[in-house]
């Protein structure tokens, strides 16, 4: 199971990668394995500001549905349109082609409250 070092992680199993004033968000390798085959990503917050810890969308697997939580406060600028045709990318490449949204970074200090790769790895018991 992969936990890339350059990312920050949430206890709800999202990852975030900051690149200047913007950040990319997805779910972790652990999360995709737990959910199983992902069939549909439902994000209806495009263009909206979503608070840290609030739901920005949901992810549907064959067996279950799970909410997606914002790691930080930001406006959703873009969602990964390729997932509509290929939701399985989230299973196959959760940190790459399976990314979910790009958002603004409203308050960089919020990032300090998130977990490092090692901390997250310890939390999920790997």
């Amino acid at each position: 199971m992969k936990f890339p070092a350059g990312l920050k992680y949430t206890k709800e199993h999202e990852w975030i990668k900051v690149d200047g004033a913007q950040a990319t968000i997805g779910i972790t390798d652990f999360a995709q394995k737990e959910l199983g085959d992902i069939v549909f990503i439902d994000i209806d917050t495009l263009g909206k500001e979503v608070h840290a810890g609030s739901v920005f969308g949901t992810i549907e697997a064959v067996k279950t549905v799970s909410d997606l939580y914002m790691p930080i406060t930001g406006t959703i600028l873009e969602m990964n349109d390729t997932l509509e045709a290929e939701p399985e990318s989230v299973n196959g490449d959760p940190y790459g082609s399976g990314w979910l949204v790009i958002c603004t970074v409203k308050d960089p200090s919020e990032l300090e409250g998130l977990m490092s790769a090692d901390e997250y790895k310890a939390m999920v018991g790997h």
Binding site: G36, V62, V65
Partner: protein
């Protein structure tokens, strides 16, 4: 029998996990304390299965992924450990009488070596459990019940056992494997002298299998893919498993988890107790009229008969999503004006169809095929259409 304290704890734990069903965390610690194992638990863990508590048992949910396992069963052959299911033996000259009283189907029609799907209605219009009734002989029957209902069913049947029919609960001594799929016969034939293709659907043979005596080889299953279910004494269970996998290697036989069992049964429109039927749903409303026979008397008959004559106010229907979204248990069903007309009882993305499907109760006026209904998925109302069952041709 399971002692009462333990079963209450298990029920609490089940509730805990169900009510936290959206959590991504696996309940490892409670699991180890309370869960029962099957004879195959170590094998599943060794194979890297994702394990989870189900009806008080530590069961494999999936091995390689639901979709892959689902297709494996539809297109080839797969093996399910369903040893958590309960088995009762009823013996003696009054066994049939008792079965006739507590079940809705007509067990007097069974011949030796035949099984039937049936239902145990309660005395309030609902369903105690759905089950299989196997006739071994005029004086010996096997009842196969849902794992979550073993204790409830036992007590229910006993409460109607006025003629003291000898009953034995062999659940804890019996392993059950379902070998399902179009290649099941091919995969298993070398393990028995019984001509497997000569066993008709819903019939069984009791014979030597994989070198073990007295195995029930039953041409049943809950997948619509064809195949067999094998009732195996625990002491032979692992040996039989290993021989099945050796024998089925040419067919690429694979282990299948309970998650794919659920998508397979849902594509067939088969009811799952606890989801689609429960203590408050009537067999007629649930579309189980075909196993409700008014040619005999049984507990709960009057409720079923009244609904049958007066017409059901709600009916269990299948539906397909038109708008994009996945229906889930307990989602509300509404009409075009947003008015409540029912509730979703099961839902998933069908791996075979690549479409979202579900079962749910709707008011009679909306139950006809092609009726347009709407499913409330979070804050949205998504269009769906009532569809004839099964969703796929078996």
């Amino acid at each position: 029998m399971i002692d009462e304290t333990k079963s209450k704890r298990v029920a609490w734990v089940q509730f805990f996990f169900i009510s936290n069903g959206l959590s991504l965390f696996s309940p490892t610690i409670l699991n180890k304390i309370l869960m029962k194992n099957t004879p195959f638990t170590d094998i599943h863990i060794g194979l890297g299965a994702k394990m989870a508590p189900f009806a008080g048992y530590n069961m494999p949910i999936s091995y390689k992924g639901i979709n892959e396992e689902h297709h494996q069963v539809r297109n080839a052959v797969g093996v399910f450990d369903v040893s958590h299911m309960g088995e009762f033996i009823l013996k003696g000259e009054n066994a049939l009488d008792l079965i006739q009283r507590v079940t809705s189907n007509d067990a007097s029609k069974l011949i030796d070596g035949q099984a039937q799907y049936s239902c145990m209605p309660n005395d309030k219009g609902g369903i105690v459990d759905d089950l299989l009734v196997y006739k071994k002989s005029d004086t010996e029957y096997l009842l196969v019940v849902n794992a979550s209902n073993i204790e409830k069913d036992w007590n229910w049947i006993q409460s109607h056992n006025t003629k003291s029919v000898p009953m034995t609960n062999i659940s804890d001594d019996t392993a059950l494997l379902a070998i399902q799929g179009p290649k099941a016969t091919e995969a298993l034939q070398s393990l028995t002298s019984v001509d497997l293709k000569s066993i008709p659907y819903y019939h069984f043979a009791e014979s030597e299998f994989a070198g073990c005596p007295n195995i029930i080889i039953s041409a049943t299953g809950y997948t619509g893919a064809g195949g067999f279910e094998l009732y195996i004494p625990n002491r032979h269970a692992v040996a039989v498993w290993n021989k099945i996998f050796a024998s089925g290697a040419a067919q690429n036989i694979a282990p299948i988890g309970l998650a794919a069992r659920d998508t397979l049964r849902l594509e067939m429109g088969f009811c799952l107790y606890g989801n689609d039927i429960n203590d408050t749903t009537n067999p007629i409303e649930a579309g189980l009229g075909w196993i409700t026979k008014f040619t005999k008397d049984f507990v709960g008959r009057s409720f079923a008969e009244n609904i049958k004559t007066q017409g059901a106010s709600k009916t269990l229907v299948g539906f397909k999503m038109v708008d994009k979204g996945i229906p889930r248990h307990d989602y509300e069903i509404v009409d075009g004006n947003g008015k409540n007309i029912g509730i979703v009882t099961s839902g998933t993305q069908s791996p075979t169809l690549g479409e979202a499907i579900g079962l749910g109760y709707v008011a009679a006026a909306h139950a006809k095929s092609d009726s347009e209904i709407f499913i409330k998925v979070r804050d949205k109302q998504l269009k769906a259409v009532v569809t004839k069952l099964p969703f796929i041709k078996a």
